[in-house]
């Protein structure tokens, strides 16, 4: 057994240049967010309202920043682990599918610091140029849409390729139920988006007329969420149909993690886009839900990492 263990080589892979650049970008965005959180002087109105000094304010936001950075790092870790596994089996059909999937999760992971940095920058610029808030909000919304769209598209594409390798034994009635569910969900989401409180500007906090909001943001989001959720379902199907008891057992963590990440991102996005609908609620439970969802996303990425590690083990022994 010792001889086997010695001979069992854990193939250490060097990181490819694109992966190194990705990690560097991730690091820069994270450092950027930390600097944007602590360097600018907080608004005097905010300090006065809560009777805080600048130092007290910074101590207050420190745990939030640490919490957020920890969530992002779990996303980075999980997405890199699955990318590493995909690279190990890159010449196989499932390796190519997993590679596309892993790039989707890397995009989703980097979306978190990008969104936070943009929001922080937007807040900073708006303080000095209040008139810029409208344009910045619109730009910010479209950037979020593009990043999420790219991520969900890649995830959906990778998942379909993977599922096709094991045969798709999806029942027709479950497909119809799925479509019906999404139609109902889309109708309700569209209603909540356009049904803004009267106290907000006529165009809502998105600063867009309703028709443009629906066509350029709501419908694309719904489409990409559909693609992402279908991707999660395809992974589940792949796990159900593929051969190999040990392989399926390792895949369980990956498929659970994928589902948690996708659902977590979607629900977080829904809550932030209908935030004015929730404004009449007590802020505390809303914040708890959103932070809870971030923990779910982090847990999902960690499960993805565990699953990728177990699958990798099958390739190393």
């Amino acid at each position: 057994m010792d001889m086997v263990n010695k001979k069992t080589a854990t193939r250490r892979q060097t990181l490819s240049l694109p992966t190194k650049l990705y990690i560097l970008l991730f690091g820069l965005l994270t450092v950027g967010y930390i600097l944007l959180s602590f360097l600018p002087v907080p608004e005097p109105v905010t300090l006065h309202r809560y009777n805080l000094s600048v130092a007290h304010y910074r101590w207050l936001i420190l745990p939030i920043v640490i919490f957020l950075v920890a969530i992002w790092l779990s996303g980075l870790y999980g997405s890199l682990k699955v990318k590493s596994y995909a690279s190990l089996i890159s010449r196989s059909s499932e390796g190519r599918a997993l590679n596309i999937l892993s790039i989707g999760f890397m995009v989703l992971a980097i979306m978190m610091p990008v969104t936070s940095d943009l929001n922080s920058l937007m807040g900073l610029i708006s303080r000095h140029s209040p008139g810029a808030r409208e344009s910045l909000t619109i730009i910010n919304n479209y950037i979020d849409l593009v990043i999420m769209g790219v991520a969900m598209w890649l995830i959906g594409d990778g998942a379909i390729r993977l599922a096709s390798l094991a045969g798709n034994n999806r029942k027709a009635w479950s497909e119809k139920f799925w479509v019906l569910f999404f139609i109902i969900f889309s109708a309700l989401y569209g209603y909540f988006i356009v049904d803004q409180p009267v106290s907000v500007s006529p165009q809502g906090v998105n600063y867009l007329p309703h028709w443009l909001l629906l066509i350029s943001l709501v419908i694309p989001y719904l489409f990409f969420w559909y693609v992402g959720l279908k991707g999660a379902a395809q992974i589940f199907l792949y796990r159900r149909n593929v051969r190999g008891s040990l392989y399926k057992s390792s895949l369980r963590f990956l498929s659970a993690g994928i589902a948690l990440v996708i659902v977590g991102f979607i629900i977080t996005r829904i809550l932030t886009t209908i935030s004015t609908k929730l404004s009449h609620l007590n802020l505390t439970p809303v914040l708890i839900i959103i932070y809870g969802l971030l923990v779910v996303i982090a847990a999902g990425y960690l499960l993805i990492a565990v699953g990728a590690k177990k699958l990798r083990r099958l390739e190393e022994v």
């Binding site: 069992t8 196989s92 593929v242 051969r243 190999g244 392989y247 390739e315």
Partner: protein, 92 residues
């Protein structure tokens, strides 16, 4: 049922446990432990390969039932009884 070469039979049995990773698993044992290319596997290598396959699978799972079942099926192939090893009786 076309049974294929011994290597293909070993891969087919391994697929019930390792799925898509089975072929790579078997080929890795051949190249790492027998120091041969998979296509150069001979009848004399089979029993040694079976020993390595059993040992390596034991590193991947603590489930004694799976290890014992895999071992039994590999030994059937080594004994020239591939039909029994590949029959559906093993699929639970």
């Amino acid at each position: 049922m076309a049974l294929g070469t011994v290597r293909e039979q070993l891969v087919e049995v391994s697929r019930d446990y390792l799925g898509p990773a089975a072929e790579r698993f078997v080929e890795r044992q051949i190249s790492t432990h027998l120091k041969k290319k998979p296509d150069n596997l001979t009848a004399r290598d089979v029993s040694k390969l079976v020993d390595w396959l059993k040992l390596s699978l034991a590193l991947l799972t603590k489930d004694i039932e799976i290890i014992d079942e895999y071992t039994e099926r590999l030994e059937l192939i080594a004994a020239g009884r591939p039909k029994e090893a590949l029959s559906g009786q093993w699929l639970k």
